[in-house]
């Protein structure tokens, strides 16, 4: 049983931390990040499924992906892996790329830190902390493809409440 157990935002440090728990072991949860075919099944925002093109899952390596919108538009992105400690933690930069997959230096970069800890019931507690450089960066990221899908997700949420 998956559960989101905590959400914390720090509006001064511009960080968002989300903690969730899964019944699967850390070595299994690690694979949803380390295996590109598993990664692309959940990375894209609603209505923007991801396709992972390159995946060098080592410190200093990079991941290249694109997300396809409902109108066929593509948003390209990249990760640069800063640290990897299997199956405990991953820290990487996530940014936008041009149509050829080259990082676009004009656009924001987020830092994402993933921590996996084994729970007392041999499941996994996964904490994901995203750090933004500025509010403008957050605004930009949401405006690039995410926004439409996200507002759809939020309106679906509204109908459930």
């Amino acid at each position: 049983m998956m559960a989101i157990t905590n959400v914390r935002t720090d509006e001064d440090a511009l960080t968002l931390s989300i903690e969730s728990e899964f019944a699967s072991s850390p070595t299994r949860v690690w694979q949803v990040w380390a295996d590109p075919r598993q990664l692309e099944r959940w990375w894209g925002p609603p209505t923007y499924p991801a396709t992972v093109e390159t995946h060098e899952f080592v410190a200093g390596g990079s991941v290249g992906y694109f997300m396809t919108g409902p109108g066929g538009d593509r948003v390209h992105g990249w990760w640069r892996l800063l640290t990897i400690d299997e199956p405990h933690s991953i820290e990487f930069e996530d940014g936008f790329a041009d149509a050829n997959g080259a990082p676009d230096p004009q656009t924001p970069v987020m830092i994402i830190r993933v921590t996996l800890e084994e729970t007392s019931t041999h499941g996994t507690r996964m904490t994901i902390m995203t750090t933004f450089a500025s509010i403008d960066d957050m605004h930009y990221v949401m405006s690039r493809g995410m926004k439409e899908g996200m507002s759809q997700a939020i309106s679906q949420l509204d109908t459930m409440v």
Binding site: I4, V7, R8, T9, L16, V29, V32, Q38, I135, I154
Partner: protein, 115 residues
């Protein structure tokens, strides 16, 4: 079932905007400052009750207050809604969506996929 301590900030904003009087207060001081007593004339409630509504909005950073003589002037802070809080909320929803996706991948039989 799900223990869910949503971000305090999102909670505050939602709570603040859940009330029709508070939404109306926001609307009235969107473009110009309004004193609490002037706002109170629009509603069938005491100045103190309106003051309480304003305090809820202020805590959610949806309005700012400043003192002018004996009056308290209220001004809406649309940036407080549109920028930080809404953006954090959107990113929170993005990660909730991703975590649900991870859960779906994890639920599949282990023989399937590349592992």
């Amino acid at each position: 079932m799900v223990v869910d301590n949503r971000s305090l900030r999102s909670d505050r904003v939602f709570h603040a905007l859940a009330d029709p009087t508070r939404r109306d207060i926001m609307r009235r001081c969107f473009t110009e400052e309004s004193s609490v007593s002037a706002l109170a004339r629009h509603y069938p409630m005491s100045v103190t009750a309106v003051q309480k509504h304003v305090n809820v909005l202020e805590k959610a950073e949806l309005v700012t207050k400043r003192k002018a003589g004996r009056e308290q002037l209220v001004l809406a802070n649309p940036l407080g809604l549109r920028r930080a809080s809404e953006l954090f909320f959107e990113f929170e929803q993005l990660w909730r969506h991703r975590i649900e996706g991870i859960d779906a991948v994890l639920r599949e039989p282990p023989s399937e996929g590349t592992q």
